[in-house]
Amino acid sequence: MSIDMSQFYQVFFDEAAEHLGQIENLLVSIDLRHPDEEELNAVFRAAHSIKGSAATFGFSDMADITHVMESLLDEVRKGTRALSADMVDACLAARDILTAQLAGHRGEGGADPAHTSAIVTRLEQLLKAGNSPAPVVEPSPAAATPAPPVAAPPALSSALTAGVFDVRFVPEPHVASQPELLDNMLDELGRLGGVEIVSRPAVDSDDPQWCLKITSMMPADMLRDVLDFMAEPGSVDISPVGGEPPAGEETAYGFFDPLPDVLPQAAAGGEEAARVECVAVEDEVYGFFTEPSPAVESRPVEAEVSPESVAVAEAVVPAKGGGDTSIRVGVEKVDQMINLVGELVITQAMLVASAQGIDPVLYERLLAGIDQLQRNTRDLQETVMSVRMLPISMVFSRFPRVVRDLSRKLDKRVELKLLGEHTELDKGLVERLADPLTHLVRNSLDHGIETPEKRRAAGKPETGIITVSASHQSGNIVIEVGDDGAGLDRARILAKAREKGLSAPDSLSDADVWMLIFEAGFSTADVVTEVSGRGVGMDVVRRNISAMGGRVDVQSILSVGTRFTVRLPLTLAILDGMSVRVGGETYILPLGHVAESLQPTADMIHSISGVPRLIRLRGRYVPVIELHREFGVADGCADWTRGIMVVIDVDGSQAALFVDELLGQHQVVIKSLEANFRRIKGFSGATILGDGRVAMILDLPALASRARRLQSVAA
């Protein structure tokens, strides 16, 4: 029988990722001078747990790093070593390596070996240096110089750093015949560590080989030196127990030492109570303090139980099933479920549509059933969608680390405030939000928060504050990244924009000036920093957020601070849509971008070169896109005064879409086009309407930018 370990990998991956996240969070927030004992324990436990599982499942690279990390953390948590910023830095760096290694095992990238060994060395140096009470033994030449005999009895207390050796030798005939020589040799070995005789040749045995197990902090060479005097040349075989050296320390516990102060076990049997039987002495990885007594083997344990304890056991209702209150499920299963619920919503809508107009008296029960179905479907949909919802803390949790590392690098003092971490949003959004939000936070730290000197000069506290908050607002999630830094400098942004050849008249409102920082290639940093200043970034941030159907706004007051506001729909799978008719076609507009709709009067229409192109709306000219023309719908209404203008607002730029009429608002289930067709410009997806027809969902950001281009062509 063999057991395939790979079947447990996924659980290990998830678990290790969780622990790594925990390590990071705890280390970042830890108070260097007065570290919380429970927090230290938790960090240690996380590292320890990864080590144990990684080693079990054969990921020795991860086990090696966590081993050193654990040793360091163990001393800290036991109070024998003070926590330092360097140590936290090194542990965080090690955590990053572990994350990369984990990704490597998952088949996504991996860790740079040079980097890895650098971190291990750094951790080892930290472990060696400073106030460690226990000498760290390395099989180095220095350690091979004869050490003064250890005064203490074969010290077991230091065995944390001791190695265990499996020693075999054949004594020279003259030694073998003189017991006192052998005793001398054993004493000599005893000074180097704990000696245990595994087997000695019987008096008349053919096999003269001795077999010892030695626990010693000394390198194998020193043991050999002692044995060489007594043993036959070439017969000495010393091997560290437990395989390869780095893990050797760990796996090397198979021997059974004559440990003092044994508490006799109840089941141990009267004789030899003070000595411990080791039934598994030949084995390296386990042992018994008491020989498993035949009583245990032959009699069912229940027989030993006193009657009243049985009664108690029966009285207590056994906790049924697993103790875990959550289960891990693959994302694809959840997605499949959401997909099916989407189909169900559509089927339900079809039923509702086809039940319209039937006699409510004759079909009372059918209609009641459809009503019930509608309610249940909605509840089911909400419940299933909530499965995909994750708290935004999944993204926020990386910010403390980002802020810590970056503020150390930039010599700035920053306090990070996170609010609304429990706000939930779709898993897909969480993943895609991570990068843009991280960029905003780095941007605030790099460009927003001033150096402590500047802040002092400006009469502000030296420590700046970055606030990241999330909240739900009417079907949207709103995330704000704010700082109390220098604020945006209007004059500088305008100058920079002109330098870049962007149109930037002085008459622009503040809000429009701020939006300039989202233009491609825009960066006002005097020095291009490693951090956020390559001029790529803010435009990417805006593009990413737009792609999720969201938008970014900026508010800023000079020397008071800057605040970025990101608005996003709650989920990617379902959207609130407005359905409009163009000729015989129905289109869906995502409601989030719809600002207003109106029927224009003749005096609002403005023509350029005789062709109507714009409408004038409260003093602003808004470019018009005629959907029937855009999508080639032959029977669409062409008279602007008889149709409807739907004004959309995407990232602050407006456009009016000309449609025949508005049909209504509904929640629509988004079906991806790309899954089955290629991407079509102007459409972000499709949905199935209640009557079974397919309606395209318009890509409003794309249409808005098209309108902008039309406008500039017209101008």
Partner: protein, 121 residues
């Protein structure tokens, strides 16, 4: 009748592996996520063998073993520590707490079966 084993470890992957391994060997296995959980389970059902990790939140392995040994029903039940911490110090403590034996993590699943067979057949 298959023997009941209580396996306690805070690591889900180890738990899964131990559970799978011992079930494959024909034992009935109940998991617990930490010492306190393990103690609760031990109170509600009699086990023939307890396997416990040492380092766990809420209640560690040693505390669990001590608590179990105070229960009349578990005074003679074999308890093995499955732990990465196999220093002599730890073993001393383990024995003082009343553990029957220890096994070092990482371990080979087949070795685990072998050890468990030695103890409860």
């Amino acid at each position: 009748m298959s023997k009941n084993i209580l396996a306690i470890d805070d690591s889900a992957s180890i738990r899964q592996m131990v559970n799978f391994t011992l079930k494959s060997a024909g034992y009935h296995v109940v998991d617990a996520v930490d010492g306190r959980d393990g103690l609760e389970r031990a109170k509600s059902q009699q086990f023939d063998l307890v396997l416990t990790d040492q380092n766990m939140p809420r209640m560690d392995g040693l505390a669990l073993i001590r608590a179990l040994r105070e229960m009349p029903a578990y005074q003679r039940t074999p308890i093995l520590m499955l732990t990465t911490e196999s220093s002599d110090e730890m073993k001393l403590q383990g024995r003082a707490a009343g553990a029957t034996g220890w096994m070092v993590k990482p371990f080979d699943p087949l070795k685990l079966i072998e050890v468990v067979r030695k103890v409860i057949g």
